[in-house]
Amino acid sequence: MFKEPSIRLAAWVACLTLTLFTMLPCIWILATAFKSAAEINLWPPTFLPHDPTMENFQQLLRETPFMRYVFNSLLIAVGSTLAIMITSSLAGFVFAKYHFPLRGPLFMLILASAIIPLEAYMVPLYIMVFKVRMLNTYAALIFPIMIMSFGVFFMRQVIMSIPDELLEAARIDGASEWWIYLRIVLSLSKSGLMAIGVFAFTQAWANFIWPLVVVSTGDMYTTELGLAEFQRSFFTEYGPIAAGAVISIVPMLIVFALLRRHIMQGIATSGMKG
């Protein structure tokens, strides 16, 4: 876009500086998790651990049920991801390929609600869950994140690009609408579905305020909740907390590293919406 040498130089300097800003804290937490308690409380602080130790991880797993938190988080994230992949692809398919009364208004309703954050309507959700006596259950934790408005929008975009002739040909061969959905639409929109899956998984894993209000006993804590509560009580040392933070970040980084192309494509679409 701009090829002037001075601008290119400025670009390198600015981008390398920003890289330091975004990456240093990540490396810092990783390094801290492997430091001994004595080294963490050293002044001036050391950057990389002199003497890498697993002690923080061992202490965390010994003294807290952190693996249980990770298990809970995984269960909730997988449940929510599966639900969102099903609801997004099915609703996206119907909105993309069928004509029916109220199609426009219903779709607008879903699209408009995408922007409204859970925080703004969580009180009635809580009362609902309370009334059916489901507080502190996995069902309650997954329940409000079974639909993703953006997912419906995104899958509609993806499925709209599947040619109608393909579906019509299958119908002539006697295929039912469900068969078309399961065999044709799903396999042709796999890549988009992956992107939505990644978004759903990271969103569910990172969810904080809903577990905070719904969960009341330690055995139902998620990693995020456990990590936040460690701040308030339990630990006076930072080492095990850093270890917990690393455990909570690593699955996200793995997912991101494996599927970054899908993720970037998904973000591109969300930007195109604007």
Binding site: I29, A91, Y121, M122, F143, F235, A245, G274
Partner: protein, 315 residues
């Protein structure tokens, strides 16, 4: 909702049977049975977990609702009147607005500048975009945990770096006037990469010929930016301003973690709107009152939605 049958009953007496039959074959052709089976349950769930709670939030805000009590009387606008006298809420609102304004401006200006600069080093751009995006992958809680240690008054890396410049140790999370900037910095760190990617998409969609044409006319880099690039980016800029504003206005997890007193260091109690909703609704169980605070958030978000809608309508 979606289960509602189409309006078939015609007020006109002209051959109703024929109209019914036509409508029926039309529905058959459009696979209305499949649409109902597939979309019906999803829309029902959608109403249950989105539409109903939103409407119910507004209704609750007119009641003195307490989940532990049997009688929850209607109180009209009393909750809203109380909002005006509620000092913690006023502080929270002002804090949230200040935090949001600062974070949105810094994040988006930085992201836009970087995204534009990245276009001049096209080959390295994807790598940089990935490196900038990494904090976005980190959930808010561990992100705040990381920064909490960086901000630590006694052992923190930030104070160590500043001590190199001769600045004495500061209590980033303890001083009432510093904690705002501390939380803004975490947020900029976390969000900037996402917006660099979004702007990157917008910038890549600008046809190169336009800029070459400007080059032929002898336009300087600044003029190209001012008269070609920025005007074409307008819709994306509007989208990012609204997205970023909504993300920031609902800030809670980082504040919850960063203001928790721990490791022997107390922290200043920086109040935000969602924190007040949490306190009132789920600590004190004043759910009607919390509902009125939720309505404030809803109104704010809806007004942004209207702004976006009107702006795109223009075109």
């Amino acid at each position: 909702m979606s289960g509602a049958p189409p309006q078939l009953a015609s007020p006109l007496p002209s051959a109703p049977v024929a109209r019914w039959r036509r409508a029926w074959t039309g529905m058959r052709r459009n696979h209305i049975g499949f649409v109902l089976c597939a979309l019906g349950p999803i829309m029902a769930l959608f109403v249950l977990i989105r539409i109903y709670p939103i409407v119910e939030t507004v209704r609750l805000s007119f009641y003195n609702y307490n989940i532990t009590q049997r009688r929850n009387p209607f109180v009209g606008f009393a909750n809203y009147i109380r909002l005006f006298d509620d000092d913690p809420f006023r502080t929270a609102l002002l804090n949230t607005i200040g935090y949001t304004a600062l974070t949105v401006v810094v994040t988006l200006l930085l992201a836009l500048a970087i995204a534009i600069l990245l276009r001049s080093i096209e080959r390295a751009a994807p790598v940089f975009e990935l490196l900038f995006y990494v904090p976005m992958v980190i959930p808010w809680v561990p992100a705040a945990v990381i920064w909490k240690w960086i901000y630590d008054p006694a052992y923190g890396a930030l104070n160590y770096m500043l001590s190199g410049l001769g600045i004495p140790k500061l209590g980033w999370l303890q001083e009432p006037h510093l904690i705002l900037y501390a939380i803004v910095m975490v947020s900029v760190w976390k969000l900037v990469g996402y917006f660099v990617v979004i702007y990157g998409v917008g910038l890549r969609s600008i046809p190169e010929e336009l800029l070459e044409a400007a080059d032929l006319d002898g336009a300087t880099a600044w003029k190209k930016l001012r008269y070609v690039v920025l005007p074409l980016l307008r819709p994306i800029i509007l989208f990012t301003v609204i997205t970023c504003t909504i993300i920031c206005f609902n800030v809670f997890a980082p504040v919850y973690v960063l203001t928790a007193s721990s490791q022997g260091a107390p922290a200043y109690d920086f109040k935000v709107v969602v924190g007040e909703i949490y306190q009132n609704g789920f600590v004190f169980y004043h759910m009607g009152y919390a509902g009125s605070q939720c309505v404030v958030v809803l109104l704010f978000v809806m007004s942004l939605l209207v702004v976006q809608f009107l702006a795109f309508r223009e075109k």
